[in-house]
């Protein structure tokens, strides 16, 4: 018996939520630090913390020994350990950053302190968005992942899904500004999303085509699956049509409802991308290996049931 994939949907979910949460926080603090309108995206910081927490719970669920998850913080050099610390810190910083906007706490009026926390959030958000791609790209055993382009792919997708998610939450409590200001922010977001959808589409296609024309036969095999094999339906249908073409059309159409549907579709596209990447964990097989594993019992044979 041989497992086809060692990582399943919880990892794909975590990768989506990690990029999403990290970029939501990045947009929230960037608008505060550089455009002085952080109140529009204040709730996004709290949502980012919630999504990162949910993603972390997916990670824990995937573990063979979930109750021992705390050990992930114990190594000194592993990328995963750095990532775990950054995610934990970002969740804390996001919650603290959000607390400045509520007006409930003594520090709520301390703008300079909020800016410091925002700067910290920017650094940690960037780290969280990048480390997942770097982790996967470091696996020499997995030809489809083992390229410096993977962190770029994940980062651009994170920027797109983060912008889409932030546009869904923009202007919600505790924002107390004018409707006109909110409308102008939404217009900027719509333009940003259009640019990012196009850019993300280009990056995705370049990545797949780069793998399809790679000198590595394992990478080529995985890319072929995306373009015309068993992954063609989720790739062309889920990622390209639902995740890029449809949102682009809706954003271009304009209007609040169209923008909301487009943003949801963009996030769905991000989920498809992470699933496709996680399940493209092809390893180079040795001569005769495939046949060896195929000939072993699958686990549902009558003699095995009799054995047990």
């Amino acid at each position: 018996m041989r497992e086809k994939h060692f990582w399943g949907w919880p990892i794909a979910g975590y990768l989506t939520l990690g990029g999403l949460g990290g970029c939501m926080m990045i947009y929230a603090v960037v608008t505060d630090l550089f455009f002085d309108s952080g109140d529009v995206f204040a709730l996004c910081a709290l949502a980012a913390a919630a999504l990162l927490g949910l993603g972390s719970s997916f990670l824990i669920f995937e573990l063979g020994r979930p109750t021992q998850f705390w050990r992930v913080f114990s190594a000194q050099k592993a990328v995963l350990t750095f990532g775990a610390w950054m995610v934990l810190a970002l969740i804390g910083v996001s919650v603290v950053y959000f607390s400045f906007w509520t007006g409930w706490f003594p520090w709520s009026q301390m703008e300079s302190l909020r800016k410091v926390v925002a700067g910290l959030g920017l650094l940690l958000g960037t780290g969280v968005v990048l480390y997942t791609g770097i982790e996967l790209a470091s696996f020499k055993a997995r030809a489809f992942w083992n390229t410096p382009a993977l962190p770029v792919l994940f980062a651009v997708s994170g920027l797109l899904t983060g912008a889409a998610a932030d546009s869904l939450l923009a202007g919600l409590w505790p924002f107390a500004g004018s409707e006109a200001a909110l409308a102008s922010v939404r217009e900027v977001l719509r333009s940003l999303c259009i640019v990012l959808v196009v850019f993300d589409f280009i990056v995705v296609m370049l990545y797949v085509l780069m793998m399809y024309t790679s000198s590595n036969p394992t990478a080529r095999r995985a890319a072929s699956r995306w373009l015309s094999g068993s992954f063609a339906a989720p790739f062309w249908g889920g990622l390209v049509a639902f995740g890029h073409v449809a949102p682009l059309s809706l954003y271009a159409l304009g209007g609040v409802v169209a923008a909301v549907i487009a943003s949801v579709l963009v996030i769905v596209g991000g989920v498809f991308l992470r699933f496709l990447v996680v399940y493209s964990d092809d390893r180079r097989l040795f001569a005769g290996e495939e046949r060896y594993w195929e000939r072993l019992p699958k686990g549902d044979e009558a003699f095995l049931e009799a054995w047990e």
Binding site: L63, G64, Q68, V72, Q76, F139, K140, G288, R291
Partner: protein, 186 residues
């Protein structure tokens, strides 16, 4: 210093799978776990000159083990004598090391939720015995010893014959060396 290594003389291997059975029996492995499969490729060639190629595998105990470097808990370890192993007590079963291993040498133990792998039968070899797979191999296709000892069989073979390391281009520096040849002809 001791540096354990293994030489696979594929000219001698007849794919009897005795090593696989011995490993599973003595290490009491679950039914779905195999540390040392023996792959067979072929028949290759043109009739009547046909032959089978047999490739015994196991953990390569790489000198630069990618599985150890990615472990977020330090459960994956490399000893001074080169043996790579997993300390089950501190493994959380994140499977990152499985993804990092190019040789499919790591396996998830579903019952315990941890990663398991060949450890060169470290308790035996440190007691001066051979790993079970080596002891069982009646064709002497598996040769085990200290690579740093010039008098050892592995040192002699690695330094005198044209051995190869699997997936050498990945720069993991496997400590399992292969003498390539036609199966059962050694």
């Amino acid at each position: 210093m001791t540096r354990y290594a293994m030489v696979m003389d594929t000219r001698r291997c007849i794919a009897c799978h005795s090593c696989t059975v011995a490993c599973r029996t003595f290490n009491d492995l679950p039914l779905d776990m195999i540390y040392n499969p023996v792959l067979t490729d072929g028949p290759v060639g043109v009739y009547p000159n046909l032959h089978m190629n047999h490739m015994p595998l196991l953990c390569m105990h790489c000198d630069t083990p990618p599985c150890v470097h990615v472990c977020p808990t330090g459960a994956s370890k490399q000893e001074d004598d080169g043996i790579v192993w997993v300390k089950a007590e501190t493994c959380i079963g994140c499977k990152t090391c499985i993804q990092a291993c190019p040789y499919n040498a790591r396996h998830i133990d579903h019952a315990l939720g941890v990663v398991a792998k060949c450890d060169f039968c470290k308790d035996r070899v440190r007691a001066g015995k051979e790993p079970h797979c080596v002891k069982t191999c009646h064709q002497r296709a598996r040769i085990f010893g200290d690579l740093d000892d010039p008098a050892s069989d592995v040192s002699r073979l690695v330094n005198s014959l044209n051995t190869i390391q699997l997936l050498e281009e990945l720069e993991t520096d496997p400590q399992v060396f292969y003498i390539l040849g036609t199966g059962g002809q050694g």
